[in-house]
Symmetry: C2
Subunit: 247 residues, 2 copies
């Protein structure tokens, strides 16, 4: 048995998220089907995590096992020929037999894009949240610093999140201006359901004056979901990278 780890990029616009589910087209189902055509038997993928419907990825990681190892290019070029244009295998590497894409992950980098414009933009609509409101960037950058470090993010997870603990550690939270685009780079050890989208939605509420920056600090101490900001839409989010100590 040989274990292989894939790096996968996808435009999530037309998919019901990563995870396989009945009666919906998901990224995992597409990649497993393409792998089966190359491997010759059913393949089960174990990913670093799920992404919501509409969320994109530049560097999703997922591992699977094969009995007979083919040249690695087969799991890249070969599988890519069987994949739709919205999904691609960027890399395929052999990893240790006990490597686990989910449990061995040291960290993840998510990027959220906000396009600031009073008029919706067809050319940016698939990859960014379009906001006409004037945003107070200084206040947002100030509030974002409270998120960095180890905190109880209970106020910043979906009410349907089933994780036992809501304590998570964020390594950094950077906000960058790039013309009309505003980039939120969020790096952390792990994330709760909808967490990045609620963090960004809360910062937007700070940016338009609906929430005070200090409220964010308080929410990390004793907040519940209804006290935090809205959930930013899925299509502005992209899982950029997942990294491991050894791979």
């Amino acid at each position: 048995m040989t274990r292989i780890c894939l790096t996968i990029e996808y435009d999530g616009s037309d998919y019901a998220g990563w995870q396989i589910q009945p009666n919906a087209v998901t990224v995992q189902a597409c990649v497993e089907a393409a792998l089966e055509r190359v491997v010759g038997s059913p393949v089960r993928l174990y990913s670093s995590g799920r992404t919501d419907a509409g969320v994109h990825a530049a560097g999703m990681k997922a591992h699977f096992d094969v009995e007979t190892l083919l040249p690695l290019s087969a799991y890249r070029e070969g599988v890519n020929r069987a994949l739709p244009s919205a999904i691609v295998i960027r890399e395929a590497v052999v990893v240790a037999d006990n490597f686990n894409a989910r449990f061995d992950a040291c960290g993840k980098w998510y990027q959220y894009q906000i396009y600031r414009s009073n008029i919706r933009s067809p050319l940016h609509r698939r990859i960014s949240w379009q906001l006409g409101n004037a945003l107070d960037l200084d206040k947002m950058i100030y509030a974002a610093q409270f998120f960095v470090g180890k905190h109880d993010f209970n106020a910043f997870r979906s009410s349907s999140c089933v994780s036992e603990t809501s304590v998570r550690e964020l390594y950094s939270f950077e906000i960058v201006e790039d013309g009309e685009m505003l980039l939120f780079n969020v790096r952390g050890r792990g994330f709760l359901k909808n967490m990045v989208r609620i963090l960004v939605g809360t910062l937007v509420d700070v940016g338009i004056g609906r929430l005070a920056a200090e409220t964010v600090e308080q929410l990390l101490l004793d907040g519940s979901r209804q006290d935090a900001g809205r959930t930013a839409p899925a299509h502005g989010l992209c899982l950029m990278d997942v990294w491991y100590e050894k791979m």
Copy 2:
């Protein structure tokens, strides 16, 4: 009668180009239908030019006439509500009764995007030509300078181009690196059919060594279409702006 000029942005991916035609969904047909819903009677749009199937626009211009002038926001917000998400009216302004979006244009700015990567990228696939080849940028920049000025671009137009003269004037031709993306900014008074796409395709052939940079100079003197490079694909091209002396 009042004449109005629109600035229109669209993602051309799923359209058979700008110009209205039977049995195909075109941008012009969509905008005219949306205008008719707001104006209350059929509207004919006169654009600054056509764009090919798959080509995008950030600033297409087109004029039309109305008998009864509504508040200008009706031609923007009102029409936008009747348009699909891939098309938007960015601006609507009243112009002189004799203004003509095509014949009064002083210049146009086209941008072509090449994404340099050995692996196709789902997240960039709609707006860029993906090329795995290593490109010699210095040679391409050198060759591009021959295009600037007034020349006979006969070698750089589609064989189905029906324009009487093939003499055109380019104001500038700039190539900019932006990470893995290569941006071609082309400004000129007017363009022949497929001209920007053939100019870019020819520069790519120079960049990979299939054509000598000096050949470009010769092609402007006595070239025919088969001597120039290939036609770059439509989806990498975007009409950024059209400008006028008075508007």
